[in-house]
Structure formats: C-alpha cells, structure tokens
Amino acid sequence: MTDATFSIVIDDQEISARPGQTILQAADDAGLYIPRLCAHKDLVPHGSCRVCTVKVNGRPQSACTQPAAAGQVIESETDEIRGVRRAIVDMLFVEGNHLCPFCEKSGDCELQAVAYRLGIAAPKYPFLFPKREVDASHPKIMIDHNRCVLCGRCVRASRDLDGKHVFDFVGRGIDKKVAVNSAAKLADTNIDISDKAVDVCPVGAILRKRVGYVVPVGERTYDHDPIGSKIEAARER
C-alpha cells in the first residue's frame, strides 16, 4: 500500500484521490458535491439509499461505498444519473408520509434539501400513504416512523459511536422498518439525549422534544443555500 495520490475523472474534471478513500470522499475533498442521504462523515458507509449513484467506467455504483481507484472515469451530473437520483428520491417521498408543512425538521431536512436540489416540484409516482407508528414514549426523544427513509444512520451511530445498539432493522422489502432494542417502546431502551444516534437522522424521524421550530423560516440550514453548497464552496476557494 502506498500513500501516493492518484487521479480519477468525475464529469470530465480530473481530481486527486488517496488510497483508502471512497469516490464520495475524494469528490468531497475536491469540492465536487454528490447528493447522498445515508452517507454521513462520522459513520461507516452503508450504501443503502443509492442517491449517490454514479457511473464508474460505465457501471452504476454507489459513490459512498465504491473505493476510488486510479484511472476511474466517473459520470455524476449527467441527465441519466440525475434522472436515477430523482426517481429514488421520488420513491422515498411516496413510500412514507412526508408532510413538510408541519414537520419540525423542514428547512433542515436532508431529504427535502436533496429534492430541492434535484428540482422536484412533485413526485411522479402515486403516493402510498402507509400507516406507520409514532413512538413518543421517551421523555426527551421521539420517533415518527412516517418520516423514516431507512438510511440506517441511527442504527450505525448507536452501534458504532454510542456503543449501545438501540436501533436495528426488522422486516423485509416494503415492510422493512427501524425497530428499537426493547420489547416495548423507545422509553424502555438505554438511549440518552446526548447519544449521537439522536442527531444523525437526515429527516424528522428521530427528534429531540421541545426544541421544534426554534429557528425561524428564512434562517434554517437550507432556506437560502442548496445542500452541498459548503462542499462546493471549498472548490471555489
């Protein structure tokens, strides 16, 4: 193994990458934003949401799990790949109950922000309106499964960063959901308000209680700047 950097090409731009980096990490360092939902800088890659899909030498791969390798030619911001990402985000919207107008996370939500960035005005698939549970049993934390996109960030954060394993997946396919590590409710687990798992949720599925709507409209994370702006700003410097 050598530490020597090598080159990869993303959308006709040559960027440098280090051994051990994924395509997503190399792109971030170079100031090229690739949309993502399940990927998080503090968590091991999961490769489950597929929003970061790129074409690597002609084959679709998730940029968050695919290691960068010398000579890769990668397509990201093409009409085809944007269409794929849009379809995935459309499906995430119709598969849950995402009611932005009253959601506490609105304006800070990564699902919403990625949809804005992809130019989605309305999803192209029929809404499923599933019946999902809300678990507000814990005094300080709540889970609204209506908004869950099954990214697995809470699962990984609780297991790898908090050392607790409060969350995991149960069920398969359309019945897959996040479950808590107790026979009953979130209140019966050993989750704590200071756990990393509480903060990594990209949507409004895991929320701190009693802090909703504190930031006024117009001052929230994605009110003025699209998601990915910070990564892209690094390139312009």
């Binding site: 109950n97 009611l99 107008p101 005005a121 309106f129």
Partner: protein, 182 residues
C-alpha cells in the same frame, strides 16, 4: 369580448391559504388585472368556466366527488393547469386521514370522538352533501397537471413569477428560494 388571456382559480380540498398568497402579490394585482381577465374564481364569484381559459390555478386536493367534478371541468376548459400548494401536489394536511379507513374517520368525527355531541347517533348522509372519497388524492392522480408550485402556501413571488413567465411565453425558471415545500 376581451382579448386578454383568461385565468381561472378554484379551491378544492384546501384552506384558501394559497388564494391568500395569490392576493399577497399586493399592488402587482393591478398589473395582473391588466395582463389577464379573471374567469371563474372565488375572488370574483363567476360560477361557470369559459371554454378558452389559458391558465387554471388549482388549490387543494380531491377529498370528495364534487372536487373531482370541478377538477375535471377545469382540465376540460383550461389550456394549462397548475397545482398550487402542498394539498394540490401531495394531498397535504387533509391527506393525514389517508392511512385510516373512511369508516373509521367518520365514526371518530360523528360518533366516538371525545367531544362529539350527536343525539341522533347518525353519520350525515344527506344526498345534497358530496360523497367523500375513500382517501384524499393529489390533483395529478386525478387529471393531467402541467405544472406544480409547491409550498404551504407557495410564496406570492412564486405564483407571480410563474404566472408572468407563462403569460409572457418564457420558461418557468424559478430561483432556489421560491420552490419550498413548507
């Protein structure tokens, strides 16, 4: 007969917030009145749609058979149909009832709810009342919709810029700040 393009609006299963946002274009409403002729709309109370409406603005989704009737009538008479606001584009707040059966909703509202006073013990069933649909449908699941303006409500500037772009035969390139879902 006026040569100005006709614009019609309606509120289906909505709260009239989107119409309030349309009025929120302030003094530009005078400019709009110069540009267009308002046809059927709650703003002027015209009841019947003309045959040659250029733009139809739809607020709200479809929760009952009357909503479907009105929406189909708009599709028939409007060249361009726009879903305005969260309820028209996704069902919105009324669609909160969708995961629950209609029977259960009606029983909660008229029989079992904690604050219900209904000595007759009956669920309203007058033939003059439009029948509720099994669930609330976004407009594009009922008829073809040409444009969506999301937001709850969409900002006045969003509606203004979209309308003026359409009427001026320009592409509807709305800036980032004007397309929001809340």
């Amino acid at each position: 007969m006026s040569s100005k393009p006709k614009v019609a609006t309606t509120s289906l299963c909505g709260c009239f917030g989107c119409h309030m946002s349309l009025l929120d274009i302030d003094e530009r409403i005078l400019k709009l009145a110069e540009l267009v002729e308002f046809n059927k709309s709650p703003i002027n109370d015209i009841k019947v749609l003309a045959d040659d409406v250029v733009v139809g603005l739809i607020e709200g989704g479809c929760c009952n058979e009357e909503n479907v009737h009105v929406l189909r009538d708009f599709r028939l008479h409007c060249k361009i149909l726009i879903s305005v606001g969260e309820c028209a584009t996704s069902g919105g707040i009324p669609a909160l009832r969708n995961p629950i059966s209609l029977k259960e909703c009606l029983e909660e509202a008229y029989l079992n709810g904690p604050s219900v006073h209904n000595p007759s013990g009956k669920i309203p069933n007058d033939p003059d009342l439009p029948l509720l649909l099994n669930k609330v449908y976004p407009c594009h699941e009922v008829v073809k919709i040409d444009y969506h303006l999301p937001g709850c409500p969409p900002p006045a500037d969003t509606i203004w810029q979209a309308l003026t772009a359409l009427l001026g035969n320009k592409p509807m390139d709305l800036p980032y700040e004007l397309i929001k879902y809340d």
